[in-house]
């Protein structure tokens, strides 16, 4: 029982990272009805930029801010230059285009920073915390990661529920034509959605890099986990992305603990298959018909 508790607690940190990346996928889905498979590529690219800033300045927070700015800019560039023109033609083309962007970003990162894994400096202690005389499977860094995830979720929730920009984003996600007629600048709102997703993905990248190093392909597996969490969460739901992101992290930690970490991707795909068979609209998804 104690071992199970340790595995569960050990999955919270990685679950928070998966939750952030799932959140990024949900943001782009809500904005444009496109699953952005380039999201991890954008996160990887901005994390490399953050690594360069970290190397130059030696300051992790400056590197994080750099990743946030770069993530937003890259999100805007991908949405404006690639997605917008392609989506005018058809949505499936847009999804394929995001794969193209992923490959292009990975190739560009390889050319700029090389193809080998590079260590990202650890900003906080990564040793297990000892509380009440017991060593827990959580480090100070895990707590920082969880804290960042919580702050981003609260900030996004406030943005979506308390500001007219958030209202415009929710309306645009539901029906862009009616939103436009009601005075919403739909194109700009979609671009902001992608910029926000770029920020969230960039933060996820910088948070995960110190625990796993970084290479052009190092975040690929994160896409599998985040996509699983986003789909099971309902793809439309911020709360679903967060809850299932953390949940996926816990399940994967338990699976890795009792068997082997190489089984984690298989476990994620089993979860995804079960979800599609039992509740394809996702746990928090509504999938109601829209009436106009």
């Amino acid at each position: 029982m104690t071992q199970l508790l340790d595995y569960v607690l050990g999955g919270i940190g990685s679950g928070a990272i998966i939750a952030l990346m799932a959140l990024a996928l949900v943001l782009t889905w809500r904005a444009t009805r496109v699953v952005n498979f380039a999201q991890v590529g954008q996160a990887m690219f901005t994390t490399f930029i953050a690594l360069s800033i970290q190397t130059l300045t030696g300051n992790w927070f400056v590197a994080l801010i750099g990743a946030i700015i770069a993530g937003a800019i890259l999100g805007v560039i991908v949405q404006y230059l690639v997605l917008r023109p392609v989506k005018r033609m058809d949505t499936s083309g847009a999804i394929i285009a995001t794969f193209g962007v992923l490959i292009a970003l990975q190739a560009a990162a390889g050319m700029i920073w090389g193809g080998d894994s590079q260590a990202f400096p650890q900003p906080f202690g990564n040793t297990a915390l000892t509380v009440f005389g017991r060593e827990w499977p959580l480090s100070a860094y895990d707590l920082v990661v969880i804290g960042f995830a919580a702050v981003m979720v609260v900030a996004l929730t406030l943005l979506f529920t308390r500001t007219s920009l958030g209202l415009a984003m929710r309306a645009t996600a539901f029906n862009p034509e009616v939103a436009r007629l009601s005075g919403v600048r739909v194109g700009r709102t979609l671009t902001i959605g992608w910029a926000l997703a770029g920020v969230v993905g960039g933060v996820a990248g910088v948070l995960v890099a110190p625990t796993s190093a970084i290479s052009p392909n190092s975040f690929d597996i994160l896409l599998v986990f985040a996509f699983t969490a986003a789909v099971i969460g309902g793809l439309d739901s911020l709360i679903g992305a967060v809850a299932l992101g953390i949940g996926t992290g816990l399940v994967l930690s338990v699976v890795s603990g009792y068997s082997d970490s190489s089984n984690a991707p298989v476990a994620a795909l089993v979860l995804l298959a079960l979800n599609l068979a039992i509740k394809p609209e996702g746990i928090f998804g509504h999938n109601k018909a829209r009436s106009v």
Partner: protein, 260 residues
């Protein structure tokens, strides 16, 4: 020219549109006098909603011009309409199903929120103040229609006539100069229609209304001026009495035999 005693707020001149080889509008010229209720009627496929789509910027005419407040609208951008003072409702209700009634109405006034993108993204305090002002205006619009107690409900939880009122409140919240109402009486019963008629009359002369509607009783009771379209052309215009007795209108609605 009907309605020439007051200056036109909206004026369409010789509008022509061809879609998929069909001439949808064929030289349509319509003026909407300020402070009046103007009706736009005609059989199905006459081009009424197309006229709304032209004014709203959803369709670009092949030729012709649209004037608003005496100035030509060269390139109409749909998202700028509410800022210009033009609000439109849709056939059906067109509500956002995932937003509450209040949020649906707030969207109609969101273009008038002046705080910048960055300050909203960062949820700065002054954006709270502006959003709160918008919330108060939206509640007032719901109250004007007597449905403020439904503010927190989702559209799917509301009866159809109330949904129609929410859509009307969304059009009203931006305090428009002209309201384009596309079949506002569609799907509602007689008592609600009578109330709708009183409501529309209460908006003039402060506001101008252009109404597309199939319910002739409502059109004849609320309109000061009526334009009649058939097969993309204006076939008649005038007061309700003039239109009611116009042989061309009777022919369009009833066929040549019926008119005879």
């Amino acid at each position: 020219m009907p309605g020439s005693e007051t200056s036109p707020l909206v004026e369409l001149t010789d509008i022509r549109i061809k879609l998929s080889g069909l001439q949808i509008l064929d030289g349509v010229s319509i003026s909407v006098p300020q402070g009046k209720v103007t009706g736009l009627i005609g059989p199905n496929g006459a081009g009424k909603t197309t006229v709304f789509n032209v004014i709203s910027g959803f369709l670009k005419p092949d030729s012709g011009r649209v004037d608003f407040e005496g100035r030509a609208l060269k390139r109409i951008r749909a998202h700028r309409l509410t800022k210009m003072g033009i609000s439109r409702t849709l056939q059906g209700v067109g509500l956002f199903g995932s937003l509450s009634a209040l949020d649906n109405v707030m969207i109609g006034g969101s273009a008038q929120v002046r705080s910048g993108l960055l300050s909203q993204s960062l949820a700065m305090p002054w954006t709270d103040i502006e959003t709160e002002r918008l919330r108060v205006r939206a509640l007032a619009a719901l109250a004007e229609l007597g449905i403020e107690d439904q503010a927190a409900r989702l559209p799917s939880e509301l009866p159809y006539p109330i949904q129609k009122k929410v859509a009307l409140a969304r059009a009203l919240v931006s305090d428009p100069k002209v309201l384009l109402l596309d079949e506002p009486a569609g799907g509602i019963g007689a008592p609600d229609m009578a109330e709708l008629g009183r409501l529309i009359r209460s908006w003039v002369p402060e506001r101008t209304v252009l109404l597309v509607e199939h319910h002739m009783e409502l059109v004849m009771s609320v309109c000061d001026l009526i334009w009649v379209l058939d097969a993309g052309k204006v076939i008649a215009s005038g007061t309700p009495d003039e239109v009611r007795n116009n042989p061309a209108v009777l022919a369009a609605y009833l066929g040549e035999e019926g008119a005879a």
